[in-house]
């Protein structure tokens, strides 16, 4: 492909990141196949935010669509990073859990229903603190209930990234898809800087942030499964490919001894070079067999 073609393709590409939570979810399902559950007109919003003078949103920043992918059932759960940083509160948490639990029930009864999670989130919503943390624990439990019966695919596409407790959900997923722009980690750079100091992590160092949390690095290290271009078509294709693969023989979060041994072998007397670690783990995956 020559440069001109590449530029034209870039211009005509339909961006996935630029869509809102609902648009992203819709783009993954067969046209006309889906229905939104507990949608904005149900007005199921956070009871805790108005008590603190914060405007709630009528879908609590979480969109759940039940529909079909290539004619087969699937549920898509999509977080809106523009509302309270995609944070998990009582209502959004209950939506995610209910959707996963219903998919599990259908899957166990013979109608395999995979879940696709679009995670744009900083984690627990601090205005709902303990109910948010409890909800994240419950989401973790629900992902683990569904995972043996149908694949759970996490997509991290946008620049909000996936942090806090919800990063565990990514870690538990059957597959994780990321863009180059996306980030995945337990603690965001600002939080580390606040808790452990600027010497530990300079949150203004953009290059460092992406070198550690960025999609290319996470995929390169084997901690996520594929890097996807920011395009509606590319995501639709990538999701279909993973659904065709089905449930993996082993989940990454079951490889206890593999990762334990790798950590035991690390020299941590100074900070770890992300690129070096990536090369090392990639080689180990090649030798040890990718899961």
């Amino acid at each position: 492909m020559n440069t001109e073609d590449t530029i034209m393709e870039f211009i005509h590409r339909r961006s996935f990141i630029e869509l809102d939570a609902r648009g992203r979810a819709q783009s993954l399902l067969d046209e006309g196949s889906f229905k939104e559950l507990a949608g904005p007109f149900a007005r199921m919003q956070s009871p805790w935010l108005p008590m603190q003078g914060v405007a709630p949103q009528s879908d609590d920043g979480c969109v759940v669509l039940k529909g079909k992918v290539d004619g087969k059932p699937a549920v898509v759960i999509s977080l809106e990073g523009k509302f309270q940083g995609g944070s998990i509160g009582e209502v959004s948490g209950a939506k995610i859990c209910a959707a996963l639990d219903l998919a599990t029930r259908d899957s166990v009864q013979g109608t395999t229903t995979p879940a696709i999670l679009l995670l744009e989130t900083g984690g627990v919503r601090l205005q709902e603190a303990n109910l948010g943390l409890a909800a994240v624990a419950e989401v973790i439990a629900s992902v683990l209930s569904l995972r043996p019966h149908a694949p759970v695919i996490t997509i991290i596409a946008g620049t909000v990234g996936c942090f806090g407790g919800m990063s565990l959900v990514a870690g538990l997923s059957s597959y994780v898809l990321m863009t180059r722009e996306a980030r995945l980690g337990l603690n965001g750079p600002e939080v580390i800087e606040q808790e452990s100091g600027v010497d530990e992590f300079d949150s203004k160092d953009r290059a460092l942030i992406w070198a550690i949390d960025g999609g290319e690095q996470r995929v390169g290290m084997g901690l996520a499964d594929a890097l996807v271009q920011d395009s509606v078509e590319e995501f639709a294709t990538a999701v279909r490919k993973l659904l065709a693969k089905g449930i993996p023989a082993v989940h990454r979060s079951e490889l206890v001894e593999r990762y334990r041994a790798r950590i035991a072998a690390l020299d941590v007397s100074t900070q770890i070079d992300p690129a070096g670690l990536r090369a090392q783990w990639k080689q180990a995956d090649v030798e040890g067999g990718v899961r």
């Binding site: 507990a38 209950a94 627990v124 943390l133 994240v136 990063s167 980690g185 979060s253």
Partner: protein
């Protein structure tokens, strides 16, 4: 007196198991021991501070990479040993909790602490789903990602009724900064809004606890307290045996029906709409 993270955890681990030294191959921050409880045997797990840790950001009792994988490894080993046994023979797991938080460190993020935390949560939840009764005993602090990694997947949560017991998503100072409030405002709000509170009595109102246990001497376990705690753990284990293997008991109870009304309404509506979709 300011609560010193991990001291209680270590004391209660010792009181309940008779041991206080890490197993070979484990970091000094992880205590694991099989000890008798009631008429049977249970696996006790605890994370304690290790000032000598080669990972600087876990030295004050945070849960880091080595801690998460060591916990997961012990739990997976127990699951394997009891595989194929009938449910009544699956040994319980008791997580003793007094943790500051997850590790806030660059080394940890570089390696992927999100996966380490997920791996430990996976092991706890898998044990629960396979029929091992999993009970968490909160003797001190249970914070944020540290709690998600170590203990929040339990069938039943037991906490000491004590002002030094704090269960929360984030420490006061950091939560105040992020929500742009003063610590005083944050604490005041906590009294009006139970999920934000740092008081274990408010936490108990959420319906998440199996029991709030009054203890005479939470710092230095005495015989009568140890007996009381053991009894509570035995009763929590018995309660697991005749119940579900998921976490639904946390939202299906009279307190949750009040405090988690909105969440329960969501679950009900989702179920109705799911059938028609």
């Amino acid at each position: 007196m300011k609560h010193q993270i991990g001291v209680r955890g270590r004391e209660w681990f010792r009181a309940l198991t008779g041991s206080g030294t890490p197993q070979s191959g484990d970091p000094a921050s992880v205590l694991a021991s099989k000890a008798s409880l009631g008429s049977g045997e249970a696996l006790f797990l605890c994370v304690v501070p290790n000032p000598e840790s080669r990972f600087p950001c876990v030295r004050d009792g945070q849960v880091g990479l080595e801690e998460a994988y060591a916990l997961a490894s012990h739990i997976r080993a127990l699951i394997a040993e009891d595989e194929g046994k009938p449910q009544e023979e699956k040994r319980p797991i008791i997580a003793i909790i007094d943790v500051k938080s997850q590790a806030y460190g660059r080394r940890e993020e570089t390696v992927g602490i999100f996966l380490a935390a997920a791996t430990a949560a996976d092991a706890y939840a898998t044990a629960r789903m396979k029929g091992h009764p999993v009970v968490s005993l909160i003797v001190g602090h249970a914070f944020s990602g540290g709690f998600l990694t170590h203990g929040y997947q339990a069938n039943r949560l037991v906490a000491f009724d004590d002002k030094e017991v704090v269960i929360h998503a984030m420490h006061e100072e950091a939560a105040a900064r992020i929500t742009r409030r003063s610590v005083a405002d944050l604490l005041r709000l906590g009294h009006e809004i139970p999920p934000m509170s740092y008081d274990v009595h408010d936490y108990a109102k959420l319906g998440l606890l199996y029991e709030l246990l009054h203890i005479e001497s939470p710092e230095e376990p005495v015989e009568s307290d140890i007996a009381k705690v053991s009894q509570s753990l035995v009763s929590a284990i018995a309660d697991c045996a005749n119940g579900e293997r998921d976490l639904s008991n946390r939202w299906k109870n009279p307190q949750a029906n009040v405090m988690r009304k909105a969440g329960n309404a969501v679950r009900e509506r989702m179920e109705q709409e799911w059938l028609g979709a």
